[in-house]
Amino acid sequence: MLDLFEVITTSGIVLWSKSYAPVKSSIINSLISDVFIEERNQPGSDGKWFKKDSYTLKWTLAADFGLVFVAVYQSLLHLTWIDELLDQVKTLFVALYGEKIKASTGTKIQCHFDQYFEARLRSLERKAGGNSTIRPINTTLEDRSSEGNGGGFSDGDEWSAPPPMPGVNHPGAPFTQQQSLDTPYSSEKVNPLIEVTPSGTSSNTVPPAMMAQALLQASGRRPGRPRRSRKSAGPSSASSAHASSGEERSPARLSNKHKRGKEMRIWGEDGIAADASDYQKLDYSGTTGISTDDEQDDTLRPKPEAIDQNTWGTRTNKGDFLLKDLDYEIDDILKQANKAGKNDETNKNSGSLASGLVGGAMGYLRNFVGGKMLTKEDTEKAISGVMTHLLEKNVAREAAVQICDSVQTSLIGQKTGSFQSIESLVKLAMEDALRKILTPTTSLDLLREISQIRETEERPYVISIVGVNGVGKSTNLSKICFFLLQNKMKVLIAACDTFRSGAVEQLRVHARNLKELSEREGGVVELYEKGYGKDAANIAKDAVSYAAAQGFDVVLIDTAGRRHNDQRLMSSLEKFAKFANPDKILMVGEALVGSDSVQQARNFNAAFGKERKLDGFIISKCDTVGDMVGTLISMVFATGIPVVFLGVGQNYTDLRTLNVKWAVGLLMS
């Protein structure tokens, strides 16, 4: 079922985690770097889930506290309650530790969250109903307790000693003691239920909600019990070694006697219910029938009393009692959070006039002075302004909308700085986002890569260039060739556009020019051509083996232009990538293209089969668009593939590498 649940701060600290099965930490790392940093959602996920290896990850963010809640489970399982769990855990965690986290400014805090989490998890599973969910969870509980004691998340003594729970009405440790001392500690909330359990009388203080819960539990646990016992009979040999340590934590591994004790406790709950209303409950528990209820009542009621006292003495069942009152605490917290949320809304809608006025005035002041907590409504106007700006810069609409969305979500809950307007804050955030998008994640130093390949593998470095018709593939290939020749390399140009008339001749002219230009520099360039009509992939393969035999440093492969939405043309690229096996596949895209850029980039990126992706973009004709360089953003955003070169003119020398600062400056100007 659930394999791992973690609460992480954005600064990378694991505040709390609970693992039910070993999961590599790289799984969550890849979620963070792929989704949070590089903002690449997996196709179809819509930013709601992330699959890696055989796991599915779901998460929720508490932006104002800088917290990330991540749940990891096997993709095979279909857990419907994960979202609810995430939300509830988030509310709980923030309610319990929010202040602490804010005060500690993103460092480690102590949080003893285990029991809260367990309680929530169980109640959700119960709600989800099916026996199938209950059984495996109980087995995973066994796993957990056996692992958790050893080298789990934090120091071992947390397990044996009841953890202090900050920010909670009645901490765990005093609770059990006070139970045995019989002091009316937590008056209406907890004591009635527990006191009733042994005595089975005076249930008039039990609120109906509690009753319902007892009912729910009874009905929920009942079907699970026989399975559990069957289960524990199976792997008990494996888990018995841990029995002593795991006992107090995991009800599933209680010995027979203790298990009976647990049943009794449930029966005790039934007792409450029976007193309150009906025979249904007894009917439920004692499968033998209604007729015996009188005798059974008499015979059974003393028993739970005895066993319960026993468990108090040995403290083994403490976890369960705590669970009881935790449930109420948790419900309280969740309710309060809900109420607070509603209050906020009602305050907004119809606050009292005076407070509304004061609030309004303060809000108005904060607009200028700063320190205003941003909400979605506040940013709406500024965001739409920035969006229009991006669209004017020729960013594809799809990309612009998504970038603006992510900027907006990142801003919610933030405070404006002193004397900082919302507009300037949004602008700064947008600049950051654009910089993040354009910054490459891998080294783009072509020369170093070539020399490394030449030194270590002694084969030519292969670059192939693809793109839509007329974007400047051959021109940019010649520019790259010139650049390599300047660095005294031996370059072979392979003419693999065997389709368009004049394509080979065009390259021949380029090769001749380049040869003349670079003779002094010491570079060597040669054209590899096989005429028209042949299969491009085969020519490319031949060219590479020719280059290897002749000791060329680099092979540049020119390909035919193709429309990115023509499946017939695009399908040949996969074979091409397999045959030529280029070190770099660069796609040329014009800066002139508008909304189509996103689709072009995506289709080309997907055209090389599953294992192969594009390695970079060359954005051509940048000199023709002035500061409207939005295509850069659209293409990189759609694929997460970096821009390697920019074409900025007609000459061989007009090739540039991307300067992120420059591009962001242009886009935001």
Binding site: S11, G12, T105, G370, T441, L655
Partner: protein, 280 residues
């Protein structure tokens, strides 16, 4: 009452105390209000040690280790964190407290390539006082070329930023101190970890090679439009491609290479380096 001087302002007669008080109010109220409202904004910390380095090197772990003295699990960071520590955090538990209790800050920065600008910006802002930089790396993965390139590239950018800061600082002030840079080779408990001397050599060669290809490489788009971009393009001496730690001293960096391991609590070398930073 009559002894107090009065002023005639726009037809109103005001006594001096009232005038002074009202003037004070006019000046102070906005300041106080601004302080109150912008209470969230922090003033820049006084002495900062910057923690930078590629992903998965152990930056956040070191930070937490200094704070908590235990190993705490971490994940990839997405935001920087600044933590205030007292110098006693650098001492191992048994050594005595020397009494110098001026607190310092450690700024942990994310190592993901897309977020490296946070560390770079911290350095290039000359207003912040950066008393030392720890470049944390994973010494167990440097034998693979890809990771070495990544590590060296970030270091290159960092050194460039330091050089730039040094240049701007030495223009404005007469005496500029070198910024100490510790290359902390973490995870030396692992079997595949390289010795620090080897790492030092590898990085210097890699940096030199990087400088060479950068020199030979294409111009940046937009180069030449604003001059300061060109100024910091070359790391170290312009006459040679060779980069050595000694050669970098001229450009404001004093490099130390030390290995250690957070996992096996072998961080004494690093903590003593930090203490030295604080005393300087």
């Amino acid at each position: 009452m009559s002894s107090l001087p009065t002023f005639d302002v726009l037809g109103f007669t005001l006594s001096l105390p009232i005038l002074v008080i009202s003037l004070l109010a006019v000046v102070l109220i906005p300041i106080v209000l601004g302080k109150l409202l912008a209470s969230g904004a922090k003033s820049g910390p006084s002495s900062v040690i910057l923690l930078a380095g590629p992903r998965d090197a152990g930056k956040t772990s070191l930070l937490l280790y200094l704070q908590e003295k235990t190993l705490i699990p971490t994940q990839t960071s997405t935001t920087p964190a600044t933590v205030r520590l007292s110098p006693s955090a650098l001492l191992s538990a048994d050594s005595p407290d020397d009494g110098s209790n001026k607190p310092f800050h450690i700024r942990d920065t994310p190592g993901h390539p897309k977020l490296r600008s946070t560390a770079i910006n911290t350095i290039t802002q000359p207003t912040g006082s950066c008393i030392g930089i720890i470049y944390m790396l994973d010494s167990a993965v440097l034998s693979t070329q890809v990771r070495l390139t990544d590590t060296a590239e970030y270091l290159y950018e960092l050194l460039l930023a330091i050089q730039k800061r040094y240049a701007t600082l030495s223009e404005s002030t007469t005496s500029t101190e070198l910024i100490p840079l510790l290359i902390a080779c973490n995870k030396n408990d692992l079997f595949t970890a390289l010795p620090p001397a080897k790492i030092s050599n590898l990085l210097q060669t890699e940096l030199s090679r990087m400088k060479e290809t950068k020199r030979k490489g294409l111009l940046n788009a937009g180069a030449g439009e604003n001059d300061d971009e060109d100024l910091d393009r070359v790391l170290g001496d312009e006459r040679t491609d060779q980069i050595t730690w000694d050669g970098l001293k001229e450009f404001g960096v004093e490099v130390t290479v030390q290995s250690g391991s957070i996992k096996s609590s072998a961080v004494d070398g690093w903590t003593s380096w930090m203490s030295a930073c604080l005393e300087a």
